[in-house]
Structure formats: C-alpha cells, structure tokens
Symmetry: C2
Subunit: 219 residues, 2 copies
DNA sequence: CAAATAATTTAGTCTTATCTAAAATTTATT
DNA sequence: AATAAATTTTAGATAAGACTAAATTATTTG
C-alpha cells in the first residue's frame, strides 16, 4: 500500500504512544505529540481506520492493526538504521541525526534498507541505544526502561512497576504516579540519587529506590 | 528558502531541458517531461516566477534565475552523489539507483551532503558517467556529448554542432535535424558506424561522420 | 447523579498541487 | 496577411492535510 508521509508519521506516532494495558491511544495525545490540532488528528484517524491500518471508534481512541503495526515498525527500523549510518559512516554526532533520519525513513525501497542493514553490519541498536527491529519486525524490547535510566529533559509514559506490594503502590498513588501518566524528567540528584520530575504540571521528587521500580517508555 | 518537493522537481526539470541558444524552456516540454498537464505547469511557473526562482513571461516560456539555477544544480549534485553511494557502498547496479536517488535528493541538510561527498571520496562522476557538481555548483559539462556516444533507447535534445560549414548544415536540415529537436536513439550499426534514430516520429539514419559532429544532451 | 469540565468530533476554510474544458495567444500555412 | 493549427493560459473542480470555532460525547466532581 502506498502511504503518504503524513499517514506514515501518524502510524509512527501511534506506535510510540502505545502503552499497556489497553494499547489504545487518544486523539489529544497524538495531537500533542505531533504538534497539530485535535481536529486534524480526528480526520486522519478516520482515514487510517478506513484503510484498516488502525482500529478506530469515535470518541474511543485508536490502536494499530496488524498491518499498521508492521508498517510503523518498519519505519522505526528505517529510522534507526539511517541513524547508525549517519553516525557510524558519516561521523555525525547522535544529537545531529534525528531530524535527518526523520526524512530518510520515508524513502521507499525494501532493497535499499536491506542492503543498508548489511552494509552497516546488521546493527542491533541505534546511536541512542534503542533497538533496531529486524526485517521481520522483531526486536528486543528495550524501549521499556527503569526511571533511574532516564535523562533530564526526556518525556516518558509510566508503563509499569517491577514490584507490586501495597505500600509501594500506595506511595506512588499519593505522589500522583500512575500507569499511563506522562512525565518529564527534570534532573537526577547526584547525592541521594533521587529524581525530580513533573506529572500533570506538578513538580515532585522520587527517591532512587522508588524510581528503580518504575518502568517507563520514552516518547 | 524552503521549497516543496514539487517546486524542486520543476526546477530540476527546467535545468534538464535548458539548451542553447536561448536557454528558454516551453510549458509543453516541461509537461511532457514530468508527465503532467500544461495547465499544471503554467500554475507552477507562475509561482516559481513570483519567488524569483525563474524568469517567466506568459506565453514566452521560462528560464532559471541565478538562485533557481543554484538550487537545481544542488539537486543534481545530491542526486548523483546518492547514486554513487547506492552503487559504490551498497552494491546496487546503475539501473536500479535512479528512482531511489530521485527521492534521496530531496533530503534537506547541507551537512549531510558534504559529509556524504567526503565519505565517498569526492567522486567526480556518477555511475552513469554524468559529472557531479561540487559544493559551489561547478562541474565539467559532460552532459553535452557527441551523438556517436549515445546508447540505444536514450532520448536527447540536439544542442549544437562541432562543425559549421554549409554543406554539413544543409545535410542536417534535409534530414530534419535542427537545434532543439528531440531525438530517440534506435541503434548503432556495427559495420558502418551509422546511427538510426527518430525525430518527430520519423525514422532516419545518420552516418558516423555526421553523427560525430552533432552534440546532444541526454534527457 | 446531575452539573461542570474535558475530550473529541463536525462543519466550514485554506493552501498546495493536480486535473479538464474553454478561452486567449502565438506560430505556421496557404 | 488572413486563417488554421498549435501552444499556452484561465476558469472552475478535486483531493490531501491542515486550521478554528462550534457542537457533541465522555468523564469528573460536588
């Protein structure tokens, strides 16, 4: 199927924002992620739904179909392989390559990407440490990381916990931390390993011990 | 200036079709080259004229401005450098790379293209033998070739002659050969070096001696 | 659980790039 | 040079992707 750049970008956005437990993405979160209006997103979701690239119900959000997931994953593969090329072959730095890879990922040619993969030596991770899906779309999920592995400035979604005893969970809910919440890392304290972050525009601090048990997905 | 893909493709088409003596390109020839309608071309020429990328007068055709020429040449540079990469680094064959380079040439990053140039070892010619403009847009004009150097199937425009004595020119006009005419090569005769080609859907044959003195530009 | 708030969709516009059909202009021909 | 033919432009539509403002549906809160 021939997709436009816009359609491809929406699929990628939905994949990025997809998190457990329901794997459903809201209109507003897509709009915020892409920097466009909610109305534009609705229009596109209708179109992607008709093409059966996503499952979409009015007012209920969207999730990727099998086809949509395959296409979005292949875009991630292309994006990350190109990033490796830009750093490894052309000597660019990891912070210079994102925007260029954002354009390169849309080049349509399976042969090209398979040859690029071979040329680069079948790398498993991109320069940011994110895993590169193989030609079949399989990859080791490393996009799920511990909160302690985050870097200041990053935005992420809370997707789970590594411990589930009641006192821990109660502590989290008191702080306003819940699965599905979007967070933004402010910084790591060098002395006590605590992490400052914002949730719902509220600033708060979590101890290193707590942060270690919170799983997030970068967005 | 931020140009759309369509605008860039029009500039490239105009550069390709530009030939002596007047360096002016007609609406219809652009339409034929791009496979679009004359009306669409007129619309775009108006827009490019307003942006001062071309000089355009209604009913009189278009020619590239200095800026337009610079941009179009830089697109040719990108296209040919990417073709070298695809063949030299990825091992593709010269006939597989054109369409992919057609997409890659639009990636916007000066840093990228300069690094790619260095990575490839500052090649002077692409896999088809066409010269690659340097970062300043300079290149050895080899797109002008003798008719004897053509290959069956190629289409070209007659852009000049290497000899200009009267009997030669009279011979040409009798055959229907004139500057600005579009020709298509049918084949080279192995015994007498004569060349068969079509002009205005008329099939004709030119002797090797004559062909040697006709300069063409591939399209 | 009803009212208030938030999220989402619909309706109506705009821009870019395309098209066809009709009108205008230029070029060729008799 | 007048008319015919070819070329080019204008006029009016369409589709994709975006927007704002208004309407609708869902969620939260008192």
């Amino acid at each position: 199927m021939e997709l436009t750049y816009a359609e491809e970008n929406y699929l990628k956005a939905i994949l990025r924002l997809t998190v457990p437990p329901d794997y459903t993405v809201s209109t507003n979160s897509i709009a915020a992620h892409l920097g466009s209006s909610a109305a534009s997103v609705t229009d596109m979701l209708k179109k992607l739904g008709e093409k059966e690239l996503i499952l979409y119900q009015r007012y209920k959000g969207a999730s990727l179909s099998e086809t949509g997931n395959r296409i979005a994953t292949s875009l991630v593969r292309k994006h990350r392989l190109w990033e490796v090329f830009l750093v490894q072959s052309l000597g660019m730095t990891w912070d210079e390559v994102h925007d260029i890879a954002e354009e390169l990922e849309h080049i349509k040619s399976d042969q090209l990407i398979e040859r690029l993969d071979a040329f680069l030596g079948y790398p498993k991770y991109d320069p940011h440490g994110d895993p590169i899906p193989n030609a079949k779309g399989k990859y080791t999920l490393r996009s799920q990381i511990q909160l302690t592995e985050s870097v200041p400035g990053q935005e992420a979604i809370v997707i789970g916990v590594r411990e589930s005893d009641n006192s821990f969970l109660r502590h989290l809910s008191e702080k306003g931390v819940a699965i599905g919440k979007t967070i933004k890392i402010i910084g790591h304290d060098l002395y006590d390993q605590s992490i400052r972050l914002t949730i719902d525009n509220q600033e708060l601090s979590l101890s290193g011990k707590v942060a270690q048990n919170i799983l997030i997905k970068l967005i």
